[in-house]
């Protein structure tokens, strides 16, 4: 019997405005996630990698593939996950 290991998955984490500054000015990070991970898991992985993300709100607004999403929205390899600071358009 063979076992098939799940392929590694990564998401593109996009950062804007004050959240980008927390990451030292980088607007995009690649974050490895376990198979079947949701937004909350990807955020936990990002927090482990960027210490300054401890200053992010516990539940930041997020978008997955350019649509507002929730912390329990599931992620797939190659998804675009954006962290959205409070908005100020107009």
């Amino acid at each position: 019997m063979t076992t098939v290991s799940a392929p590694p998955a990564t998401v593109r984490l996009l950062l804007f405005a004050i959240y980008r500054e927390l990451a030292g000015g980088r607007g995009e990070l690649e974050v490895a996630i376990p198979p079947g991970a949701d937004v909350a898991a990807a955020l936990a992985a990002a927090r482990a990698r960027v210490p300054a993300f401890s200053r992010l709100p516990e539940r930041p607004a997020v978008a997955v593939n350019r649509v507002y999403a929730d912390l329990d929205t599931p992620l797939a390899d190659g998804d675009e996950l954006a962290l959205l600071p409070p908005v100020a358009g107009g």
Partner: protein, 154 residues
Amino acid sequence: MAAGGRIVRARITEDAIDVDDVLRAVASPSHGAALLFLGVVRDHNEGRAVRGIRYEAYREMAEAELRRIAGETMGAAPALVALVHRVGELAVGDVSLAVAVSTPHRADSYALSRDILEAIKRRLPVWKRELYADGGESWVGGVEPDAAATGRRA
């Protein structure tokens, strides 16, 4: 004439907004009311002299959000909508946002314009950094996109 509204423009741009062009985009022989709202950079905020604003957008999502906002706001009434938000560094007096709507009668245009603007304020992924006359600058505290506005669960 088809019922329901149509969005004829939804754009994030670094270029100066041609407001006449945005207004012309919603012209229709069956629409007797056309309304243009402009957001303009002002020279002060909370008592501090402002020389400009640097706008930043999540461009791809913002253009999609403009379309979603228009679609959810228009309802069944005939309407044409054109929305343009500028990004980059703007000076006092520059137009940051143009909301053009047209409808057969004026009441629908006023209501639609206001509803679209309020939705933009609540959920368009755009941020701004104020540039002060004394040389300082800071991010402007914004609005947390709320579940009702975005369809997120609470």
